[in-house]
Amino acid sequence: MVRLFGPNPMNILVCVKRVPATTTRVAILDGKRLNPEGVEFVLNPYDEYAVEEALRRKEAAGTGKVTALSLGTADAQKELRQVLAMGADEAVLLAHAEAGFADAATTARQLEAEIRKRGPFDLLLFGKQAVDRDQHGVGPMVATKLGIPCITEVVNLDIADGKVTAEREVEGGRETVSATLPCAITCQKGLNEPRYANLKGIMAAKKKPLDTVQVDLSGAVVEVLEMAAPAPRPPGRIVGEGAAAVPELLRLLREEAKVL
């Protein structure tokens, strides 16, 4: 299912998601989900690092294949084409009309099944989080189901002779984690600088394989009972101008807000 090819990872899978752009103003539909009307969708920013890392690893090995996999609505073909234009070799879309807001467990189950069919892979790459549900979980969930190690929120990655050494930021410091291939990595900002697709890449992407498979998403474990806007902040006020306002600011912080 997942196997080690050689000294350098060559057969690489990268999981990507179509998400609302970070500038999205959230409007809520039926008290339960995002109203997609007027929302601009993009490739999840953290998945750009994952794609870039996959391409660099393949380039460094001089041989191999990068497959992009996404569970998404039919529209996610756009983001997969973008990944192909960046340089991935082929893409697979697990399509479902309601895929956009699936919980991590449901998503992981679908991705795992497809990975078992398409593998073996040496390296699985994920973003550290998808900026819609912000779950931080699909990568480690998939890896756990496949029985392979996973290192999360990686900012520095070294792979040599099948040995993986990765650095991750933790509160107040950095952690170095070691593992062996096959391995999953979730990518954090700082790992690399994602490339842009150039015109040649965009033209080439049109001819690359993009399979679409319809999937069944029934049986979600995590039920969303309600979605609501956060309580509005009470209106604030300008205390004053310049250094002269400092004593009054401190008085308010101590006596009114009671936070000092």
Partner: protein, 316 residues
């Protein structure tokens, strides 16, 4: 009797303070449902029975692993959860907690709720932010066990008088291991966990002016330094300090935004702070719309005055 399992976070041989908030949440949940609280450290550590008991634990299990193994630790948690028929597994929503929650849920064949800000014992129903805090969802986990990570500064420690029973337990081994931890910001708490934060943006003019923020932070106990992305991208500050959508999410009691315009991606990381103070030269800056208190003016002139006045207060 059902059990709520709390995964303690260990660093340098001791339990990290964020775990006390998780224990407090577990205690509240347990008291409402008549459950007991087991606290589990998957690696060896100094566990203080009185301290952890007061924080909410009935039993404390201390594992035998010398080093943290991400997959090994998750396997230990899943095993202990099964052995004790846990109905709920709670973690801190830290780098470690985020790393563990999905693995534990996968091993227990369930789902999880990440970065929760509230829990209703009936259900239980977990409240958590989505779209970087632009909306909140309430979720229920339909499986035998619910796994959830809890955001710092949202759950009160228990503070009761009770002693926990401490037992040792075996640890599962894994295929990955933490081989080194290097501390970066000696002395100051991490921005994601601190109860008070002062962040600087491009308006500070350059890294040479950061000592002005540090002076303020030095005068306030437990105050962490944060930064906007503009400043991190410019190389003035490390990424570990970045607050916002692609940095850390913070929700301290007090957040100072100094020379920060208040872009939507920055707001995404700090808008749930209890009190927000904005210091900005431009009175039209969007940050003022989100601030509890604003001071208009030059940060380079206001910060020294602020540091002076704070020092006079002699805060402990």
């Amino acid at each position: 009797m059902s059990t709520i399992l709390v995964v303690l976070e260990v660093r340098d041989g001791s339990v990290r303070p964020v775990s006390h908030e998780v224990l407090g949440a577990a205690r509240a949940l347990a008291d409402e449902s008549g459950a007991s609280v087991i606290a589990l450290a998957t690696e060896t550590c100094a566990a203080d029975a009185a301290h952890l008991g007061a924080a909410g634990a009935d039993r404390v299990l201390v594992g035998a692993a010398e080093r943290h193994s991400p997959d090994g630790a998750a396997a230990t948690v899943a095993r202990v959860a099964k052995e004790n028929g846990a109905s709920c597994v709670l973690l801190a929503a830290t780098a470690r907690g985020r790393d563990q929650q999905g693995r534990i849920a996968a091993l227990l064949d369930t789902g999880f709720a990440s970065d929760c800000v509230a829990i209703d014992a009936k259900g239980p129903v977990f409240t958590r932010p989505v779209f970087a805090g632009k909306a909140l969802i309430k979720v229920q986990i339909h499986a035998g066990v619910a796994v959830a990570s809890l955001r710092a500064n949202h759950f009160a420690p228990a503070g009761r008088t009770a002693e926990a029973v401490i037992e040792s337990c075996s640890s599962e081994s894994g295929k990955s291991e933490v081989v080194e931890i290097s501390a970066k910001s000696a002395g100051r708490p991490d921005v994601a966990e601190a109860a008070r934060v002062i962040s600087g943006g491009r308006g500070l003019g350059g890294p040479e002016n950061w000592h002005l923020l540090e002076k303020v932070a030095d005068a306030v106990p437990g105050m962490a330094l944060g930064a906007s992305r503009a400043v991190v991208d410019a190389g003035w500050r490390p990424h570990g300090e970045q607050v916002g959508q692609t940095g850390k999410t913070v929700s301290p009691e007090l957040y100072f935004a100094v020379g920060i315009s208040g872009a939507i991606q920055h707001l995404a990381g700090m808008s749930s702070s209890k009190v927000i103070v904005a210091i900005n030269r431009d009175k039209e800056a969007p940050i003022f719309q989100h601030a509890t208190y604003g001071v208009v003016g030059d940060a380079l002139e206001i910060l020294p005055a602020l540091a002076d006045e704070l020092q006079k207060l002699g805060l402990q």
